[in-house]
Amino acid sequence: MTETSQLAGDRARTPLLELVTRESLDLDYHDVARRRARQGRAPISGPHRGAAVAIGVFGLLVGVAAVQNSRNADVEQANRDALIERIEVRKDAAAGLRDRVAELRSQNDDLVARLVSLTGTVEGVEQTREELALGAGFVAAEGPGLRVTVRDQAGGDPDGLVRATDLRVLVNGLWEAGAEAVAINGRRLTALSAIVNADIAIQVNKGPLSPPYVVQAIGGPDLEADFVETQSGTTFLALAEQFGFGVERDTVPSLLLPAAPPSLQQLRYAERPSASGPDDQEATNP
């Protein structure tokens, strides 16, 4: 009994690893052997059938473990192969997609460059259109210019009435002097406008005018000086002198000329020639 308790005390104080090493043989063997010796029985001998069965079970375990292991190895190898194959496939796909990304990116760059150049073209065309519309009377125009007011002769002499031809000479002089937009009594002159006599009144844009005739022209600060020097200008001033028209010329810092009436903005017959010209590209390009 004391031996056992001392043993237990030893066990408690022994470090774990040392204990494991020392008791690597199960103490039961010693216990049983000691008991047998005390009871005076002979040590065991003869065929150890139980041990043989246990060893057989051990062999079975080893065999099964080996078989299972090799089977698992096969399965794992197959899994690994399948995974590697999938990785390869995905890698190829990724490479393809990367190529596509690069291709699309360069395409995108090209398209952006084209967009930029087209935007520039559009802006240019738009500006041209704006300028043309201003000059052609399709939109209202504003700017510095010259206002010429023409009155009939004060005496009421029929020869002293301002005629359409007089206004035509005046307007021609203004155009010659570099006017960019011209209106008579608020009627904008376009390529379709005519200044004609109807009975005793003067008609512009198919509407009669009443004196005084106010001719407004938008142009540079030198418009008046240039006008006086043009041939039509001098002709008009001579006519005015001759027939006694009242003429006032004012250089005005800001004039506002309205657009021509819609009836003059519609071209019913004129159209762009279909033969390809240098300008045609812009028309056909969307």
Binding site: L25, D26, D28, V32, G50, A51, A52, G56, L61, V62
Partner: protein, 110 residues
């Protein structure tokens, strides 16, 4: 002699029958084998010491296998199965080495 015969028969049975281990028990098979190996070497040493006992051997064999598998199973349930099986294998490995050393001393008297 009869033990060696049992071992051979067991291995041959395992290799020939190739029984399917249930999926749930599969992780515990290697641990069980190591535990059984420990019991076998312990038995061999006891045999050489002359104190071998059938009953003790069978009981130590069975309890070794069951306890080792049980510890690993418990570890799996707790989420530390890997660490616990490492611990079990270290302890069993130390015992196996010590037993094999004792056997060697017996066989070669060295």
């Amino acid at each position: 002699m009869i033990a060696v015969l049992g071992l051979v028969i067991g291995i041959v049975l395992g290799l020939v029958l190739q029984p399917d281990v249930p999926r749930g028990l599969e992780p515990y098979l290697p641990i069980a084998v190591v535990a059984a190996l420990d019991a076998v070497f312990g038995g061999l040493r006891a045999y050489l010491d002359g104190i071998f006992d059938d009953k003790v051997f069978v009981i130590s064999f069975a309890s070794n296998v069951v306890i080792a598998a049980g510890i690993v199973f418990l570890g799996d349930q707790l989420g530390v199965g890997g660490q616990l099986s490492t611990g079990v294998i270290v302890v069993l490995g130390i015992r196996i080495f010590a037993n094999v050393a004792a056997i060697r001393r017996h066989l070669f008297h060295a």
